[in-house]
């Protein structure tokens, strides 16, 4: 539900990176988002199309690289991808001592730009 402020953050970071690179136009933005971060991809693209109007990022495509969270069973050592809602028991041994890590990524990884000289 806070995708508007998240999207504004993405746009600001991308525009600054483009300025620093001397680029005239941003064609794509690569985002790395962990599965445990509460962001809805379609919603971010929707806000982005609106917020980026009239900026060098207008028309840029957002690429979401989703990073899964990983669950490890402390009973049998089985490692599997964790999805929400988290499971109470290990799918391999049924054990109930699980630990979940990762899935919290939330960054602008890179941008694709057109060089100034190419127009």
């Amino acid at each position: 539900m806070h995708e508007l402020s998240v999207t504004q953050g993405v746009l600001d970071i991308a525009l600054e990176a483009a300025r620093n690179a001397g680029a005239a136009r941003i064609t794509a933005i690569d985002l790395v988002i962990g599965d445990l971060s509460s962001v809805v991809d379609d919603s971010v693209q929707f806000y982005f199309d609106f917020l980026s109007q009239g900026t060098p990022a207008e028309g840029a495509v957002l690429h979401f690289q989703r990073r899964p969270a990983q669950a490890t069973c402390r009973d049998c050592g089985h490692v599997f991808t964790a999805q929400i809602p988290l499971t109470l028991n290990c799918p391999a041994c049924g054990g109930s001592h699980l630990s979940v890590s990762g899935g919290r990524e939330f960054r602008v990884e890179s941008i694709e730009v057109d060089d100034e000289s190419n127009g």
Binding site: M1, A23, S38, L86, L98, S99, V100, F106, R107
Partner: protein, 218 residues
């Protein structure tokens, strides 16, 4: 051409959060970001905590809600310095809101600041306010499955409180399952069952909180 960026999406918020934290450190106050569902008992916890503070520990409060001054008025009636943020539909507090709200509070005179976030187990988890401690309040009527459904929130907690613990049996709340869920994403966070209404477990919570306060100013 590809330009590498690798910057946290909320870095603008995080920079202001760092400034807030520096301000708290300068004033020697412990700042607490209180997060929970609507109705879990955030305001009740603030009142019950204030009532049990040792003599001379001064506490201020920032109330966050979509609308209304109901919580701020309740807290002010107890004689605590308080300011209300209305987000007008916004689902969380962010660091700039806290920065503005601090102008309404006697920050240098405070030892403890409770920031009551908007009732929501999703969005507030993403936004650093500059707090020292993230306190997540669950409650018996919500059920024991919340850490499994909202892992992001429970992963962020420095302590997890289970309020309305005098009613655990009424709501078939399985404390063992709840603790497992918290441990899964956050093995170091203590879980304290308490009741703001009956006072059950409040001693354990106050001891934990005051130990954190002592560690900060040591």
């Amino acid at each position: 051409m590809k330009v590498t960026v690798k910057q946290n999406i909320l870095s603008a918020n995080d920079a202001i959060a760092a400034a807030n934290r520096a301000r708290f450190d300068e004033a020697g106050l412990l700042a607490v970001n209180l997060m929970a569902s609507p109705g879990a008992g955030k305001t009740s916890l603030i009142l019950a905590t204030a009532a049990r503070l040792p003599e001379g520990v001064r506490m201020g409060v920032i109330e966050g809600d979509l609308a209304s001054r109901i919580d701020a008025d309740t807290v002010a009636a107890q004689g605590l310095p308080v300011t209300q943020i209305n987000t007008g539909g916004g689902c969380h507090l962010d660091a700039p809101m806290i920065q503005s709200a601090l102008t309404e509070l006697p920050v240098p005179d405070l030892d403890l600041l409770f920031i009551e976030n908007v009732g929501n187990l999703v969005c507030p988890a993403e936004f650093d306010l500059g707090e020292h401690l993230a306190v997540v309040v669950a409650s018996a009527p919500e059920g024991h499955d919340k850490p499994f459904k909202y892992p992001g929130m429970f992963a962020r907690a420095d302590v997890v409180l289970v309020n309305k613990a005098d009613l655990l049996a009424v709501f078939d709340f399985d404390m063992e399952a709840f603790r497992r869920g918290v441990a899964m994403v956050n093995p170091d966070a203590p879980v304290i069952a308490l009741s703001c209404r009956s006072g059950l477990g409040m001693d354990a919570w106050m001891a934990w909180l005051l130990a954190q306060k002592a560690a900060l100013t040591a």
